[in-house]
């Protein structure tokens, strides 16, 4: 039995019924509803991906569970060891919460520079991670290089998995499961996020490079995590470049030259906004820009 604010409650078995949207008042209620709806239901937060389903020629689900008013999903907790980001935190709210934390400059840039200001006020971090068909999500590479974990909740409890593992299974989450938090460990590091849209802003990026670097007193790279987004169907780390930078002084031009030698492992995706070869070809330039930004952070 679902309590709360049913806007239109239609039996799950009613095929061809119009969509219903249930505004969940609590996480427990949301999980109950998602469990009850099963494959016919899905969570709805910012709606910026789901509401564009008709453009992608994808049918809407019969039932949505709106999670944007659940307090624990809309909070950012900044602890001494980690930050915890509720899945329904908007990009705008995340960018604001991270302001003044240099170690998260890359994530703040990703959240605060995606799409346009109106979209950033709607789109959520959980949606950004869970939309498996959205290759150009800014926060995914930014979180990959921060070693983030994803918490997935169901009525039977909560699981926590690494973001890379989550990306591999996100399109096959069992009905009733919901991304509830993103947990990011804190560390002393330099981070940056470089994106190349076709317009200066307000556009999808052709390619994204996010990086997180630890350097010693002589500015030599002691640890490196570099992630690439929008080039392939899903964002991923660039381990060969990470290894190549280790032990060397952090130098933007040199990093770009090294990146240019290592782009052969990427197979760019073709789409109407950019061909795959172009997405790959801009990576060294983005590495240079990200390194310059990191040096300043």
């Amino acid at each position: 039995m679902i309590s709360g604010s049913p806007i239109q409650n239609i039996p799950v078995s009613a095929r061809d019924a119009p969509a219903s949207i249930y505004v969940a008042p609590s996480l427990a209620a949301a999980l109950d509803a998602l469990n009850e709806y099963g494959p016919a239901g899905a969570p709805l937060a910012g709606g910026t991906w789901i509401m564009r389903s008709p453009i992608r020629h994808e049918p809407l689900r019969s039932h949505y569970v709106a999670i944007g008013r659940i307090a624990e999903l809309t909070a950012v907790r900044i602890g001494s060891d980690a930050i915890e980001i509720g899945a329904a935190v908007t990009h705008a709210a995340l960018a604001a919460a991270l302001a003044g934390l240099p170690e998260f400059a890359g994530l703040a840039a990703a959240a605060g520079g995606s799409a346009n200001s109106a979209i950033r006020a709607m789109a959520t971090i959980g949606g950004n991670l869970a939309a498996s068909e959205f290759a150009a999500a800014d926060c995914v590479p930014a979180l990959l290089c921060l070693d983030a974990d994803v918490e997935i909740s169901g009525r039977d409890g909560r699981d926590r998995i690494g973001l890379a593992d989550f990306l591999a299974v996100r399109s096959a989450l069992a009905p009733g499961r919901l991304v509830t938090r993103i947990i990011v460990p804190r560390a002393e590091r330099k981070t940056a996020h470089a994106r190349l849209p076709l317009r200066r802003s307000g556009d999808y990026p052709v390619a994204i490079v996010s990086l997180s670097l630890s350097v010693d007193a002589a500015n030599r790279v002691q640890a490196a995590r570099i992630a690439v987004g929008s080039v392939e169907p899903s964002a991923r780390r660039w381990p060969r470049l990470e290894a190549a930078l280790l032990g060397r002084p952090l130098d933007a031009a040199a990093a770009a030259r090294t990146a240019a030698e290592l782009t052969d492992e990427f197979v760019g995706r073709d789409s109407v906004d950019a061909p795959g070869w172009y997405r790959v070809s801009v990576l060294p330039g983005l590495v240079r820009r990200a390194a310059i930004a990191a040096l300043g952070s």
Binding site: P6, I7, Q8, N9, P18, A19, S20, I21, V23, L44, G46, G47, T48, M51, R52, P54, I55, L60, Y64, A66, G68, A115, N116, S117, A118, I119, A121, M122, S201, G202, D203
Partner: protein
């Protein structure tokens, strides 16, 4: 069961599918045609409205989730037959475009003027990143906004 909306102070009860984009309810049920459903992706800004005071692409908001929130369209930004401060400045600066993108621009700029009285030229450009004009009229729009800010 339907849902209710409050738009420009007027109340509407709708029996539409709750996932119907707000822009469609505004146009088809309330006959408020200022918001335009152009890209339906939240990128062009032609359907921009204020929801609880925040610029929101009404093509991406399920109408049912606007229930209980204050919605203002371009028609509700000034009393009938009058212009608000940004509208007057846009007219005085000849920064008037066609009616496709412009209502959304007025909505975004009205929000900017009410929330950022110290806005700079860069702030104005940033506020308009969600509004696309194909008539290349941005420069005069920015100048008009600076005029409106200066005359506050």
């Amino acid at each position: 069961m339907g849902f209710s909306l409050t738009v420009n102070g007027d109340r509407l009860s709708s029996a539409a599918d709750p996932a119907t984009p707000l822009v469609d309810i505004l146009r088809e049920e309330m006959h408020l045609t200022g918001a335009k459903p152009v890209c339906r992706e939240g990128f062009c800004g032609a359907c921009m409205v204020l929801v609880d005071g925040e610029p929101t692409p009404s093509c991406l908001l399920p109408a049912a989730l606007a229930d209980g929130r204050e919605i203002h369209t371009v028609e509700g930004l000034a009393p009938l037959g009058m212009l608000n401060r940004i509208q007057a400045a846009l007219e005085a600066s000849d920064a008037v475009q066609c009616g496709m993108c412009f209502p959304g621009m007025v909505v975004s700029l009205t929000h900017l003027l009410t929330t950022r009285p110290d806005a700079t030229r860069d702030d104005i450009r940033a506020a308009l990143t969600g509004n696309i004009c194909r008539c290349t009229g941005y420069e005069r729009i920015v100048e008009a906004t600076l005029l409106a800010l200066a005359t506050a």
